[in-house]
């Protein structure tokens, strides 16, 4: 699932780096979420300096390459700005996750643009699809050809990094009339098996496009069988669920589970119920970049804290 560079020679160093960093303390983790809108990434820098074994990864979401409507006629430009921010980070993140809607209409040219821009970050990227990525004539073949290597079913998979278990889920296929996002039985059985036998103290990060918890069912913002997935993760001391789809930051802590959604890099969407529909929200030009952005997630060893820091492109 790493698409930054398929050349084996280029992948080696990052793998070695992962091994070097695999010194997670293995204790239960109490999550602290630092949300809001910090002006810089200084918090992460200073924390990393104090905690040499801490690591960060980045989340980007909803690039919507090909989108050119009034809410943002230049989604390519704002993705470039987001990647520019990633490149400018003083401490290089371990990797990036992309929580879907890479493209707007699943066109090859849109995936090409995303690849060209995102690869400039020179980071491994782990993708899951959004519903916009599976609307080619063959319903997802283009996505799977590009991003699906080593995945199961519609593109789900898991991997370990720095002692943390990452699980990428697909909840945008086979949606039922009147319903929400959907994982389906096959994927859920895979998930149950995937986490079986793992130590309850291992931190878990789940990422998927549509929020796994019910944000606003009237707009379809939730996952029909998300609760069953979370049931399989009950025993774990710390679970972080990262989603996109709703193009705004939202978070909730429930027991050991932290839910968090990231901004889009393309266009904002309204707060639940604040508009007639969840469609792209047109804001004044000088406000747009304050509503687009990226998220950094930091694990700190020993301090038993995880911080998610959302950074807008501007403001």
């Amino acid at each position: 699932m790493t698409t930054y560079d398929h050349d084996e020679g280029a992948r080696g160093p990052s793998r070695r780096k992962v091994l070097e960093c695999m010194t997670w303390a293995g204790t239960g983790v109490l999550w602290t979420v630092a949300g809001g809108v910090p002006a810089s990434l200084g918090i992460i820098d200073s924390a990393l300096a104090q905690q040499p074994k801490a690591f960060t990864f980045l989340q980007i979401s909803d690039s919507h390459m090909g989108f050119d409507k009034p809410a943002n006629p230049n989604a390519k430009g704002t993705l470039e700005e987001a990647i520019g921010r990633v490149k400018a980070l003083p401490v290089k993140p371990s990797f990036m996750i992309h929580t879907g809607d890479i493209s707007h209409l699943s066109k090859p040219s849109e995936f090409d643009d995303a690849e060209r821009i995102i690869s400039q970050a020179r980071l491994d990227v782990h993708y899951v699809p959004g519903e916009h990525d599976l609307i080619d004539d063959e319903r997802g073949k283009l996505y799977l050809d590009r991003y699906g290597r080593g995945t199961k079913g519609a593109g789900w998979y898991s991997f370990d990094a720095n002692g943390v278990h990452f699980i990428g889920l697909v909840n945008v296929v086979d949606l039922k009339a009147g319903g929400l996002g959907n994982l389906g039985n096959e994927q859920l059985e895979w998930l149950e098996d995937d986490v079986k036998g793992r130590s309850a103290s291992q931190p878990i990060v789940v990422f998927a496009h549509i929020p796994l918890w019910t944000v606003y069912p009237d707009w379809g913002w939730g996952t029909e069988d998300g609760a069953r997935a979370l049931g399989y993760l009950k025993k774990f001391g710390s679970v972080t669920v990262l989603n996109g789809h709703i193009h705004q930051v939202m978070q909730k802590v429930e027991g050991n589970v932290t839910f968090h959604t990231a901004r889009s890099t393309a266009f904002p969407q309204p707060a639940p119920g604040s508009a007639p529909s969840p469609g792209p929200m047109k804001v004044p030009d000088d406000k747009l970049r304050s509503m687009l952005g990226i998220a950094s997630v930091m694990f700190k060893q020993n301090e038993q804290r995880l911080a998610i820091i959302d950074t807008p492109l501007q403001g």
Partner: protein, 110 residues
Amino acid sequence: MNCVAGVAAVLLLAATPAWADDAAIKIGNFTFGPKELKVKSGTTVTWINEDDIPHTVVSPDNFKSKALDSEDKFSFTFTTPGTYKYFCSLHPHMTGTIVVEATTGSIVSP
């Protein structure tokens, strides 16, 4: 039916004599309008997407559009009376119903 066929159907509609039934459904603000539509058998219904987000029109086993970008259209001609429930497979909270009634004079008791 694909988009090209959809467009062809629309062109066909334009060329059909005025007595032919047709009906339009607008997709806007993530809703089908009207949400419920009653038509006579033989009617061609055309959906047009007026949102800035793609949608689909899907009635399992009956009809299925491709993803409709903004301003794209999809048409389907209903020839069999009955109730057709459909939804957007990308945003499944969007649902609608077409009720197709038999054309007067063509009701044949089995």
